[in-house]
């Protein structure tokens, strides 16, 4: 009499192994070190700037993310650059390395379902990324407390936590993109190149493309064109991330995208939105990001499950 088989049997074993692989691999150690070093440098400049500019900043912790001084970019811009790279670095060979090492058949002849492997890899990556970003987050909170000398307000911590979540989702997006390509392409070099190409396209070229298309369709300087451009640029998850970060880290952000003058009439500017409202503001972005994650994973899932070993 055997117990009924649980569909996710073995998930923990896979997850633990993948977590060990991710956190132990030289690639991740280097990337984590890179992230932490750049973060420390931009935090250092940010805190220094903060000390020289004696202003009562209500959201000091949050401005640690956004403050920059030439030539060191802000922590936010570092993150929007390094987090996708980390995701890609983690994901581009996550499945096809198993094919190349011919470990897949051996592992899958053990009593587990095939999809457990994919779930385990995604969960392991999520765990690894959670840990890396948590270290970063603690670094920021720690610096804020050093500068402030007292713990930051709950509102700020909540915002910083939400930003942490968004960053995590953003990193996971790129991980899943790379994982998808690593399922589709048997060659690791191919999946790496395609992932990086897509990243480059969405990060560097997409805004230009959106602008060109928008002006071509809507005419130069028209309201339609501006709207279309925002709409197009939102196809890129980089825009989703940037907008979410803006709304979370600058509480006075009241709207994202194109604003008409009539909308600003009578508006009291500069007053910060409460956290809940900021969250509602970026809710579409967040849910688009999450839905993208789920769909990307589903795509990888379907392709992987249909693959012949």
């Amino acid at each position: 009499m055997r117990r009924n088989d649980f569909a996710l049997r073995g998930l923990r074993v896979v997850t633990v192994k993948e977590l060990q692989d991710f956190t132990g691999s030289a690639r991740m150690v280097i990337l984590t070190a890179l992230i932490l070093i750049t973060a420390a440098s931009s935090l250092y400049t940010a805190t220094n700037t903060m000390k020289t500019v004696v202003s009562e900043d209500e959201f000091l912790l949050l401005s640690l993310f956004t403050l920059s001084r030439n030539p060191v970019p802000s922590l936010l811009s570092f993150l929007s650059f390094l987090v996708p790279l980390t995701g890609i670095a983690m994901g581009f060979d996550v499945v096809n390395s198993e094919f190349q090492n011919r470990t897949l058949k051996r592992v899958l002849s053990q009593p587990i379902h095939r999809d457990v492997l994919l779930f385990g890899k995604a969960v392991g990556a999520l765990g690894a990324m959670t840990v890396v970003l948590l270290a970063l987050w603690m670094l920021v909170i720690g610096s804020a407390m050093l500068v402030l000398g007292l713990p930051p307000s709950t509102e700020q911590v909540a915002r910083a936590l939400a930003f942490y979540g968004v960053t995590l989702a953003f990193g996971m997006f790129w991980f899943l993109v790379a994982m998808f390509f690593s399922v589709v392409f048997r060659q690791q070099a191919t999946s790496a190149l395609v992932s990086l190409g897509l990243w480059l396209l969405l990060t560097v070229f997409w805004s230009m493309i959106a602008q060109v298309v928008a002006t071509a369709v809507g005419g130069v300087g028209s309201f339609q064109a501006a709207r279309l451009e925002v709409l197009l640029s939102r196809i890129s998850p980089n825009t989703l991330f940037a907008e979410s970060a803006l709304a979370l880290l600058s509480p006075s952000t009241r709207t994202l995208g194109v604003v008409m003058f009539t909308q600003l009439e009578g508006a009291l500017m500069g007053s910060p939105l409460p956290f809940g409202q900021s969250l509602l503001l970026i809710w579409p972005q967040l849910s688009a990001l999450v839905a993208l994650l789920v769909l990307l994973f589903t795509a990888s899932y379907v392709v992987f499950q249909r693959q012949e070993l």
């Binding site: 009241r254 009578g266 009291l268 849910s287 839905a291 789920v294």
Partner: protein, 382 residues
């Protein structure tokens, strides 16, 4: 010069021209043997005891005929004495202090100082006329005893204070005013607040009386009595304030709250309170709002015919932010215009994002989740 004074002068000449009549004996002399005085006073007689050609001797002093209850003492050389010693052809100064108490009837009281030497004596008749104190007189004279004004203005009266007595007096100023009114005295020039004024005999001073009525004092006339009081005299000035009512409109949110929340494109009812904090009725009030374009603000009711003093009316303001209002604070100004006055107040309306789209977004995520579940269903069992 009349005839009487001529006679006195003649008599003086006669006395001086008669050294032949050499007097021998004692004398007790004082320059003013008959004194008029008020109550509760001490009268001091300066006595000079003289020995005319008598051997040096001790002279005992006493008083006779003094009314009951009067005290007297002889004072000499810094102490109380009973007797003096007088050398021939010389004199000794001594004082007689007479103190009398309240019980003494007014009128003329006669008594005498008896000096008794060896063989000689002398009696000096003294008279004290006791009468009421010399009347002190103060006068208080308002320039304009009747002033009109509103409760939020200061009423300033000018009052002349005059001392019509023989002495310098210290005048205390005081006022009786309706409760809640504050009264202040000050110098006409310089504005220093006063409560006591020293006034020389016959001098006068112009005093400014500033009365601040209570803000919510209803219409009517209110008396203010200013009293100037010295030790023995007082003067009163009756002032009258006629207070006119004022209407004061105020617009505020319910319970003083000047903010509210609304969802873009959605109607939201906000209670607005229009109150008359003044003392007179306000009539024909109409409400309007200064608002961003695309917004709608409707008041029910949007007019009030009459708002009596001290009353508050609640008005429902239905606010509909423009459907493309952005999240965050907007300000709208609510204005109440009446015939007499007007008031306005800024309200901070926080536009909130509709959670409807949040739910839609969750549905999108759920749809993605369903796709995943379907994929797992179809391809999962491997």
């Amino acid at each position: 010069m009349n005839r009487k004074s001529l006679l006195v002068a003649l008599a003086l000449v006669l006395v001086c021209l008669s050294p032949v009549w050499a007097y021998e004996g004692l004398s007790v002399a004082t320059p003013y043997p008959s004194v008029t005085t008020g109550e509760t006073e001490l009268v001091i007689f300066d006595l000079t005891v003289k020995n005319y050609d008598l051997p040096p001797q001790r002279i005992d002093l006493s008083v006779s005929g003094i009314p009951d209850g009067w005290d007297y003492e002889f004072v000499g050389g810094g102490g109380l004495v009973d007797a003096v010693f007088v050398e021939p052809e010389s004199n000794t100064k001594v004082q007689l202090w007479v103190a009398f108490n309240g019980g003494t009837a007014s009128g003329r009281h006669e008594f005498s100082v008896e000096a008794k030497g060896s063989g000689h004596s002398f009696s000096l008749p003294l008279s004290l006329r006791l009468q009421q104190d010399l009347p002190q007189r103060l006068e208080l004279d308002p320039e304009l005893p009747f002033i009109k004004g509103t409760p939020d203005t200061d009423f300033t009266f000018n009052v002349a204070l005059r001392n019509q007595s023989a002495r310098e007096v210290l005048v205390d100023l005081d006022a009786q005013a309706p409760e809640g009114f504050s009264v202040q005295f000050s110098q006409q020039y310089g504005g220093k607040a006063l409560s006591t004024v020293p006034l020389a005999s016959g001098a006068d001073e112009s005093i400014k009386v500033t009365v601040k009525p209570r803000r919510d004092t209803p219409e009517g006339t209110y008396p203010v009595t200013v009293v100037a009081k010295s030790e023995a005299a007082q003067a009163i000035a009756n002032l009258t304030m006629e207070i006119e009512g004022t209407p004061t409109l105020k617009v505020s949110g319910e319970g003083g709250l000047l903010s509210g929340t609304a969802v873009a494109g959605k109607e939201k009812t906000l209670a607005v309170e229009v109150s008359n904090t003044g003392t007179a009725d306000v009539t024909d009030i109409s409400l309007s709002a200064y608002k961003p374009s695309g917004w709608q603000v409707i008041f029910t009711p949007d007019t009030l015919e009459n708002l009596p003093a001290g009353e508050t009316r609640e008005i429902q303001a239905v606010i509909q932010p423009s459907s493309n209002a952005i999240t965050g604070d907007y300000s709208i100004t609510v204005r109440a215009n009446a015939k007499e006055t007007s008031a306005s107040e800024q309200f901070r309306i926080t536009v909130k994002t509709s959670t409807l789209w949040g739910i839609v977004a969750i549905l999108i995520i759920a749809a993605a989740g369903v796709v995943l579940v379907l994929a797992v269903r179809k391809f999962g069992r491997r």
